[in-house]
């Protein structure tokens, strides 16, 4: 009896470790953001429409907002563009765009042609804001609540499923909790 106990224990341990590994494998390659539950990083960025106008993160305080990091060079951003337009129409929260490492003229042409889902588009050419937000690949979409806390981050194409299951409940929760 005790002869089998040790191998059995070793097997159980190994099985547990592997099970945990398999369970987390869908997240492989996705980095859990250390920002979740923390105040949104401060930024001051010029807008795409008017390089003289600077939007600061403090101005966005007081109501929840979505922050979408994109670029015309990014294919997954094009894929989610239609969804972003629908999100704008749903009007649950303003969508702030950060045009990351992009060419201004190209970005303007792209938005003029495909429609502009953003309340405002900010320009981040040298990744200063992107690094502060822990961005590592576009598109990335953040949800910031009225208190200015980052509550959710999605990496990759924002699908309807992700929007309805992750973002909408959190936005509803935020408005229900009141301010």
């Amino acid at each position: 009896m005790s002869k089998f106990l040790l191998p059995l224990a070793v097997f159980a341990l190994l099985a547990t470790v592997l099970a945990i590994g398999i369970k987390h494998s869908p997240d492989k390659g996705t980095i859990r953001s250390p920002l979740i539950g923390h105040p949104a990083p401060a930024f001051a960025l010029a807008t795409l429409d008017d390089a003289q106008r600077v939007v600061r993160s403090q101005e966005l305080r007081g109501h929840p907002y979505l922050l979408n990091v994109w670029g015309t060079w990014c294919y997954a951003c094009r894929a989610e563009h239609r969804m972003l337009l629908q999100i704008q129409r749903a009007a649950l929260a303003p969508l702030i765009g950060i045009d990351w490492k992009d060419d201004d003229a190209q970005a303007q042409a792209y938005l003029a042609k495909s429609g502009n889902p953003y309340s405002v588009v900010l320009v981040d050419r040298d990744s200063r804001a992107a690094i502060d937000w822990g961005v590592y690949g576009a598109p990335e979409t953040f949800l910031v609540n009225a208190a200015g806390t980052v509550t959710y981050k999605h990496v990759g194409e924002l699908t309807r499923e992700v929007w309805e299951h992750q973002f909408v409940p959190r936005l509803r929760q935020g408005t229900a909790a009141g301010r």
Binding site: I31, R32, S127, W133, G134, V135
Partner: protein, 150 residues
Amino acid sequence: MMRVGLATVALWCAAATALAIDPTELPDPTLQARYSALTHELRCVQCQNQSIADSPVGLASDLRAQVREQLLAGKSDEEVRDYMVARYGEFILFRPRYSLRNAWLWLLPLALLLIGAVAALRILRQRAQLLAVDDSTVGEASPLDKNGPA
């Protein structure tokens, strides 16, 4: 001759790409050494098996610029690491930090080695005991020898 030629070309290419990826030169050699060490131990989060020193992608070069800027501003290596970890999590460090959460990773091999050593010792002892007890049969003819085919 052919081989030497090919090797030279390969080496030259490697050197050329290495130079092309990171042309940064800091004014002070010790600063340059710290810069080089840091950029080699920070992961390029976009292309996760390369360090930011080896990666040609845009974000890596922007992260290198951050490292350079902070070193020039007089920040310590640990401050630069903390800056990166606060934004990207510990995943950005190729050499994980020792913490309570990952202590088992460091201690498990030691524990396994210990278990193995104990098991080996026990087996060796058992064998020694068996030999000590069973000495008598050595040299005696076994029943098999008598009945077996000659």
